[in-house]
């Protein structure tokens, strides 16, 4: 009994430490409530490119909404996520449709789990998984099965706790995609973080997706912004 009692804190400590680190990673990536403009460029093996631009707003740990602002073919489409509830708004017919939380809304290597990402520490439990000379490695396990990726492996800089790389795995252990975080940029308000996320996937050989953050700004929103009624009006917030 004594041995167990003594060993419990030592087992729990690394997990607490890892989860605290994960929380710091989140804080260094995004303000808790913000607006952001992102360009997503899908590059294809033949050199072809497709580009999307999104306006995203987030409040707290559970509310996030995304509006397509380009290209014209997608403009006005929007998705809203409130915890595990998710809706898709189709501007043509002025209708929000409840969709399954794992539904993909944009083609290519990225899916909506990447675009509608809530805080990592809200969705994953972390444990320490080693380190390199400059980085700590975390192993993340999804807290429930509504999360798109069952497990993540994450590389975080020791010096300033900035995320550098994420590998996403399915529950079978298969590597689904790799995200690399590059080109640190000062977005103002004390936020210095990678401005480019490059994604490759063994499932889409030769394809690459790049997300470029153009603007990230802390912003407070009324809760009513994150409702079905507001989905057709998200553009008013730009």
């Amino acid at each position: 009994m004594l041995i167990i009692a003594l060993s419990l804190p030592s087992l729990a400590a690394p997990a607490q430490d890892a989860n605290a680190l994960l929380k710091s990673v989140d804080e260094n990536l995004m303000p808790e409530s913000y607006e952001a403009i992102r360009r997503l460029v899908n590059e294809e093996p033949d050199g072809g490119k497709k580009e999307f631009t999104f306006f995203t707003i987030k409040k707290g740990k559970e509310k996030i909404a995304l509006l397509y602002i380009a290209p014209a073919s997608e403009k006005g489409r929007a998705t809203l996520r409130l915890g595990e509830n998710m809706w898709l708004y189709i501007p043509n017919v002025n209708k929000p449709l409840r969709i399954t939380s794992l539904q993909s809304i944009v083609g290519g290597v990225f899916n909506n789990a990447d675009l509608m990402q809530l805080d990592y520490h809200a969705e994953y439990e972390a444990v320490s998984a080693g380190e390199t000379a400059n980085e700590r490695i975390l192993d993340l396990k999804a807290k429930n099965n509504t999360v798109a990726y069952d497990r993540l492996k994450m590389w975080v800089t020791k010096k300033d706790t900035i995320l550098r790389k994420v590998e996403a795995y399915a529950s079978s252990g298969m590597l689904i995609k790799t995200l690399e975080f590059k080109e640190d940029k000062d977005f103002g308000n004390g936020l210095v973080r990678p401005s480019v996320i490059e994604t490759t996937s063994p499932l889409y050989k030769g394809y690459r997706s790049i997300i470029v953050y153009q603007r990230i700004k802390p912003r407070q929103f009324r809760d009513e912004v994150f409702t079905l009624n507001y989905l057709g009006r998200l553009g008013e917030l730009r």
Partner: protein, 421 residues
């Protein structure tokens, strides 16, 4: 019209040429924005020349073959002007077959004003899309008539004025409440400009997001028309399963049938309902299935009488009788759900075999009363920004006196080119 069409064709290609700038400018905010698309649609039909509807439709335009084609273009032009509290929104649509056969529709034109953050006033012509069903909406009392073959197609709105109020709560149980009131002026049937105030219609929708479930209670009232009350709900059962349902009660709803060779209107109370689900398989295939009970539809005996009426008119050899029957059919028996029990199933498989931007889907509308059905595949491919190709074959099957088997088209294949700007 020609210059407009030329312009619509050119703009997307101009936009395409500027794609992916090497060093993008920061995003620029705009108050007034124009956008739209041009659909060029070619359709080949295999007609059923023996069907009553074909004989009535083509009574004065005999074709030497059962294979017909149609080519049309449909420009959509939209404008949105938005400030913090004021907005103006315009959606137009045109259909062009030839210089002699073209039309322009005003789908939406409305202004909006936000008296407070929680409330919005709107007036003009706008589209409402109430209800949770994908292909059918029994509680869509102010919706445009939905085409279950293409539920995401833009349609004409309703001349109306509305007020909307929304309030969010931090409670884990009740998260959102909203109220939507719509006033629908009566159609101007006096000199095509005036209408009697007493026939103004009122619609209301109360919505709550309660225990992670969307629930709407919807009503419609007009003195000289049906009175309707219904509710809908939708909820995610699991991370990959969504369920939805609608139930509608309609008092004094007009139902049409053929009695003694003539049109008969009966007003009676009826229920309609819908139950469905959306399931996402781990292969990324989405299945949408819905059962629809159309309480205002015809039963098999009534439908048989209706088909007999069309057949007699088609075989009468009398042009006036044929025209009258066709008019009755087009005005009172429109749409693809004339009977009571329907099953809708759709499978969508985005990017199969890692073929990016290609989304094939397969759907069927099955008439459970006469076992006729329609099966269709929509193959959408968006290889280039703002350009979409759609190939859309459809087969209709059933006996000659059934709903889908009795239509004048046996098979059709559509090829769309859609460019956006």
């Amino acid at each position: 019209m020609r210059s407009l069409i030329s312009w619509l064709f050119l703009v997307p290609w101009m936009v395409q040429a500027q794609e992916v700038p090497a060093d993008p400018e920061p995003f620029e905010e705009k108050k007034l924005e124009w956008n739209g698309n041009l659909d060029a649609k070619y359709t080949a039909f295999h007609m059923d020349r023996g069907s009553a509807l074909y004989k009535l439709q083509f009574v004065d335009a005999a074709a030497s073959s059962a294979y017909l084609s149609q080519y049309r273009i449909e420009p959509y032009l939209n404008a949105d002007y938005q400030t913090k509290d004021l907005g103006f929104h315009l959606k137009t649509h045109a259909t062009y077959f030839s210089e002699d056969e073209a039309s322009v529709d005003l789908f939406e034109a409305y202004g909006s004003y936000n008296p407070s953050f929680n409330s919005t006033l709107q007036a003009g012509k706008r589209v409402y899309n109430w209800g949770k069903g994908y292909a059918f909406n029994p509680v869509g009392y102010v919706n445009p008539v939905k085409d279950p073959e293409n539920p995401e197609l833009a349609q004409a709105g309703l001349l109306s004025a509305s007020f909307e109020y929304v309030k969010s709560f931090s409670s884990p149980h009740l998260q959102t409440f909203s109220l939507h009131l719509v006033v629908v002026p009566p159609p101007p049937d006096l000199l095509n400009r005036y209408a009697e105030v007493q026939y103004t219609g009122f619609a209301v929708k109360g919505y709550v997001l309660l225990w992670d479930t969307d629930v709407d209670i919807i009503g419609f009232y007009r003195k000289d028309d049906r009175k309707q009350l219904g509710f809908d709900l939708s909820r995610n059962l699991r991370e990959n399963i969504e369920i939805h349902a609608e139930l509608s009660y309609s008092q004094g709803s007009s139902m049409y049938s053929i009695t003694n060779g003539g049109l008969q209107e009966v007003r009676r109370d009826q229920y309609s309902s819908l139950a469905g689900f959306r399931y996402l398989h781990e292969s990324n295939t989405t299945i949408i299935a819905e059962y629809y009970y159309n309480g205002g539809g015809m039963n098999p005996a009534e439908f048989e009488t209706y088909v007999g009426f069309l057949t007699n008119a088609a075989n009468s050899g009398n042009g006036v009788v044929a025209q009258q029957a066709l008019g009755v059919s087009q005005r009172y028996f429109r749409g693809s759900t004339l009977m009571r029990d329907y099953l809708y199933v759709k499978l969508a498989i985005p990017e199969p075999f890692d073929w990016l931007y290609f989304t094939p889907s397969l759907y069927s509308i099955y008439n459970l009363n006469d076992r006729s059905f329609l099966v269709s595949a929509s193959l959408s491919y968006k290889p280039i920004t703002n350009v979409e190709f759609i190939l859309w074959p459809t087969i209709l099957t059933g006996t000659e006196t059934s709903e889908f088997g009795g239509k004048m088209v046996r098979q059709r294949i559509e090829a769309w080119l859609r460019v956006y700007f």
